[in-house]
């Protein structure tokens, strides 16, 4: 299905920039995941994809499908909402699991049970 011709040029440019921006943020997050050394440092960059990346790509979807359809498309807000609410749970579980393991192994780089 080819829907692109129905989109005005300015909208196509806006949508393209938003999608590229979002994909770029996800890519930078993935590069960060590769680049950094310790587990705790690697926890941070992927959040670029789940925050700015998701928001930008969902914004592109809102613009694109609001213009193509007859009504405003807003259900993408739910994607952003649920991504924001659920991914931190995974990050927290991972961090806690890593901390638990490092403490048992006596890693000097992590704080003791109570600081």
């Amino acid at each position: 299905m080819n829907v692109a011709p129905d989109l005005p040029v300015w909208a196509a440019i806006v949508v393209a920039l938003l999608v590229l921006g979002g994909a770029g943020m996800a890519l930078v997050g993935s590069i960060g995941l590769l680049r950094f050394g310790t587990f705790y440092d690697r926890l941070h960059p992927p959040t670029l994809g789940t925050s700015a990346g998701t928001v930008l790509i969902c914004a592109a979807s809102v613009v694109c499908f609001s213009l193509l359809g007859t009504r405003i498309s807003v259900h993408e807000i739910l994607v952003v909402l649920f991504m924001t609410v659920t991914t931190p749970v995974t990050f927290m579980l991972l961090a806690r699991a890593a901390l638990y393991r490092d403490r048992i192994e006596g890693d000097p780089g992590v704080p003791r049970s109570d600081g």
Binding site: Y40, S51, T84, T87
Partner: protein, 163 residues
């Protein structure tokens, strides 16, 4: 009576709105179906007995939301810059922060805010001592961070959840 039929009116309304958004329709059939889903879901919630918070200060909620959006945006750019600059040395570190916040719902919100922000992650919270352990990606000044978190988030969350 209304209390028994609708134990969590806000949750029920949110579920109905979510249903209508997902279905992308406000036809009578979808409204009825969505209402049924919302009612059954909220009734089953009473069995879990969640800790409820009565939120009245919606202005403060909006302010907190605006602050979070601003901080997440700024933190996104900061972390992206560190990742992309080849020689950059960031100083990541664990950080202990004493919290006065007690409400479990407020603590859950704070955990989401801190972890959703790319530069920081919630690691552990000790309910007894109120000591929070977070990991910061690029720590410049410890006291600055503690002051920022307490004045920007904790104070507002206390006003919203613990009036």
């Amino acid at each position: 009576m209304i209390r028994r039929l609708l134990p969590f009116p806000f949750l029920a309304a949110s579920l109905l709105i979510m249903w209508l958004l997902l279905m992308q329709s406000v036809s009578l059939g979808q409204v009825l179906l969505g209402a049924l889903v919302a009612l059954v879901a909220t009734w089953s919630m009473t069995r879990v007995r969640p800790v409820t918070s009565r939120i009245t200060k919606w202005g403060k909620v909006m302010r907190l939301l605006a602050i979070v959006v601003m901080d997440v945006t700024r933190s996104n750019l900061a972390v992206a810059r560190i990742v992309l600059s080849p020689g950059a040395r960031q100083h990541s570190s664990f950080l202990h922060i004493p919290l006065q916040l007690k409400s479990p719902n407020a603590l859950a919100c704070l955990a989401l805010i801190i972890t959703a922000t790319p530069g920081s992650a919630w690691v552990q919270f000790d309910r007894g001592s109120g000591m929070l352990l977070i990991h910061v990606f690029d720590l410049v000044d410890e006291d600055d961070w503690i002051r920022l978190l307490k004045s920007r988030y904790e104070a507002l969350l206390m006003e919203i959840f613990e009036p």
